[in-house]
Amino acid sequence: MFEANPYPEEVNAALSDFLLRMADTSLVLGHRLSEWCGHGPILEQDIAMSNLALDLIGQARNWYQLAAVQLGQGQSEDDLAYLRDAGQYRNVLLVELPNGDFGQTVLRQFFFDAYHYHYLKALTESGDENVANIAIKSLKEATYHLKWSSEWVIRLGDGTEESHRRMENALRELWEFTGELTTPNETDQLLTIMGLTPDLNLIRPLWEQQVQVVLAEATLEIPNRAWMQKGGKNGVHTEHLGFLLAEMQFLQRAYPNCEW
């Protein structure tokens, strides 16, 4: 589906790193959401989470396919998803965290969607046509996801005493993992200079505004904590990712090249 665009070695390495981050982030979050299949609080939302997972895994496939051609080492999308270890994964930490209760899953999704929506929107202007095309496609889906997760954050936050308490817990649990979404690392810095990806420093205020509006409507208070976790984009993960990959990659690891 894609043909590689030629870049100087250093730029191509950064671009590949970025493509793997986009792919890994969508795949890992898609996998987490798929864990809800059959366990959702009500049937409609069980289906909703499976649909979110489906979109994200579809987007991950596009990013992996592009990463594979830019890497140019003959790997397939499956090789990249199933045969890399946790230290090689580049997803942000937020998405690998366990689901917790439905409220925590919803809040994690909202924090991600608010970033994803604004980031993809800016990414449609990427100087790399392949990247822009995947962003244009994904943005349509992310826009819809953001509606779903915003509605649920408000419904649960401004809901019963119990749902409000659970959302407060989720907020305490997740907040420190949100900084990484909009904090550039070396890869981002280089690619932004090259005009391939948007400046995350410009995405941050958009994310903050989106979060403020929805959390205010949900009667939830933004924690007054500045310290943030980081590391996922550089391959330093929480212990949770290893367990997730052990399950997700089991078949290819146990029966190499197995197909059905």
Partner: protein, 162 residues
């Protein structure tokens, strides 16, 4: 070499496995056809990134054309321009309605400004506009779940994607 008109006719007989009332042409996923001495290439685009029907659709297109005598048929997936429900054919929308699925409608501005405009979806059974969204997601990626408050029937709505 046959003309493209004949190929489009064959593609009309290939149906979406998840919404069998629609052909791949009605759905607007067939973007372009190219023919030369070496063979025939069909370009299709996914409705949603994760649409699980795309592999089946590609295979069904290949089989239908090969059965009609075309050889060396290749089906390529393209992302750009990204699919939109504007490409659903008028016939396709009629077929959806007759099948009990509300076709996509333009979102109207409403008081729910925080989430953008929401459409007014008419019930495919009784035509009433007095309907409620039960869930943003339905049985496939392209649908949402609604209920008619007049005839009380639940129904699928084919979401408007732009």
């Amino acid at each position: 070499m046959q003309n493209n008109h004949h190929i489009w006719q064959i593609l009309e007989s290939v149906h979406d496995p998840e919404i069998p009332v629609l052909s791949v042409v009605d759905l607007g996923v067939v973007r372009c056809i190219t023919q030369n001495e070496t063979g025939l290439e069909i370009y299709i685009t996914p409705t949603y990134s994760g649409c699980p029907a795309m592999d089946t659709i590609a295979m069904d297109i290949k089989m239908a054309l090969e059965q009609a005598g075309y050889s060396a048929v290749k089906v390529n997936l393209v992302l750009q321009p990204a699919w939109t429900t504007d490409w659903l054919s008028a016939a396709g929308k009629q077929k959806l309605l007759a099948y009990g699925i509300a076709p996509p409608v333009e979102p109207l501005s409403s008081t729910k400004a925080l989430f953008g405009a929401e459409p007014i979806v008419s019930c495919p059974q009784c035509g009433s506009q007095h309907t409620t969204m039960l869930s943003r997601f339905g049985s496939t990626a392209c649908k949402a779940l609604y209920r008619c408050e007049e005839c009380l029937e639940p129904f699928d709505y084919f979401k408007c994607l732009r």
